[in-house]
């Protein structure tokens, strides 16, 4: 996997380079500025870009803005955003273009090396990865707001994992159930929520996330 890193802190930039190399990825560029990231994305066309949300010049949410800009220029540019804190607003903005190939994780998740690699692969493959914290909040909130009241606790669990971008088999492993059981849960969730059934895992995640997000705004 060819990866571009955008991180302004030397310590973390070097750490990520080392980690990704160890995981068998090729770091084709490691930059510390949004403009340099846009250049690198244009030049290298990487499989995925890992972008710190806080970048110069103002050290606010430049990472997010540049990600949205890059995806406006080249739809579907795969970008995984890393941040020290999670904001729902940012999730909404990141998912706005419905093209897939995005992720938003807390920085600490990087230390779960295998999961981090899986997240990178998902985003590179056009999937969507969201931090468990994001999903947890969305689902809890909608459960309170009666939007998800019809779902059983188990179905909610499956929904959360699905929204995080996990595959059927990964969901099965997580909940210690068979993949077929997972499929059955998912079909039931979709029919209860009135979502159109779809085969593509990515479309499925997006459908769920948009459902959650819309419900969130309605609530």
């Amino acid at each position: 996997m060819r990866v571009v890193i955008a991180e302004d802190l030397l310590l973390l930039r070097e750490g990520l380079k080392r980690l990704l190399a160890e995981l068998g990825c090729t770091v084709v560029a490691a930059v510390d500025h949004p403009d340099a990231l846009l250049d690198a994305l244009d030049r290298e066309r990487p499989d995925v870009a890992v972008v710190d949300i806080r970048l110069p010049p103002t050290y606010r949410d430049e990472g997010l803005r540049v990600a949205i800009e890059a995806r406006r220029r080249q739809p579907g540019t795969p970008i995984l955003i890393l941040s020290q804190y999670i904001e729902q607003t940012y999730v909404r903005e990141l998912l706005a273009d419905s093209d897939g190939g995005v992720g938003y994780l807390l920085k600490d998740r990087v230390s779960e090396v295998t999961e981090f690699l899986a997240a990178l692969e998902t985003v590179a493959a056009g999937g969507t990865v969201l931090d468990p914290k994001v999903i947890g909040r969305l689902v809890n909130r909608l459960a309170r707001a009666d939007t998800l009241a019809e779902l059983t606790p188990r179905e909610r669990e499956v929904l959360k994992l699905m929204a995080r971008g996990l595959s059927n088999s990964a969901i099965g492993t997580e909940l210690s159930i068979t993949e077929r059981a997972v499929c059955k849960y998912i079909n039931r969730i979709f029919s209860k929520l009135g979502l159109p059934p779809t085969d593509s895992a990515n479309r499925r995640v997006l459908a769920v996330l948009h459902y959650l997000d819309d419900g969130d705004r309605r609530g």
């Binding site: 050290y59 804190y85 607003t89 920085k107 009666d146």
Partner: protein
Amino acid sequence: MVANALTGLRALALLLNWPVSAIRHRPRMPAVGRLVERQSRVDTMVLGPLPAERATPAREVLWLVFQAVLGPAVLGLSVVMWAIALFSVSTPLWWRLGPPAVIFIPVRDTTSSVIAALYGLILLLLAAACSHGLPRWHARVGRTLLEGPDRSRLTRRIATLTASRTGVLEVQAAELRRIERDLHDGAQARLVSTGMLLGLLDMRLRELPDSRELLREARAEIGEALQELRDVVHGVYPPILTDRGLAGGIESLAERAGAALAGIAVTVDVPGRLPVALESTVYFVVAEALTNVTRHSGANRVEITVRSDRARVRVEVLDDGRGGADELRGTGIAGLRRRVAAFDGGLSLISPVGGPTALRAELPCVS
């Protein structure tokens, strides 16, 4: 007093020189300013510190005349009084040496000289009182001449204090932001980096399950530390305020609280950006209100409204919970009151038993 006399003489010199310098178009005011400054140091010794403000030119000229006349006069009067007093007190020592003298009474014998000495003693006390009181009176009148009556001085002083307090609050907010940045770039980054190293180590130790168990614990610790640090950072200066301003910050708070509520309505109508310190205070007022709502009120719906015009910001958090919120229990509201008071703002909590509860705060927009 001697210093008074000196500035007085200098004032006289300046006054006398005035027509000459007016003809030569030489600016006189800096010299007057320096003199006023020197005098104010003298006055400070007598009356205590006073705000450093430059008086208006008209007042300075008035003071110049006053100082030129009374500066030397006060010294002169004191010197004369002391001289007469000492002269009189010592009458019994010298009355025999010279021709008969009149010291309050005609001095002809020892008895009359002692009576004269007693008069001298009274005069001595009077001189001492003058030496003590005259400079004070002189300084006070001089200060009033320079700065106007107490009332207008106080008004100006209040304006100065208000401005300096705003400055202090802004400095404090900037400092908190700096701490937030330092934590983000320092401790938080190092912990993440350590986590990455442990993750790598974990990968290499696949064949040693025992060691991996320890590693998992270490990583869990780092995760906890990061979470705690995030909470601290959030309490110091919420990063979302830097990123998205007050509206974004309030939305984010509503988002967090929303998980425990059926509905939450947010209206933020704030044109432009408020001063940093004010923004974070408004943010924390709403945050504390929402914490109370979700913890104690059992409310289903909450309405948050933040509005500002040029003069003030109004914050209102309404909930349909069970009410009966007691400000004296817990420290949250008291803490908010202090925060709001620092801006000359007010905070009210209306929470009848059975609800609804309304928390309102109003803060002036000083900048």
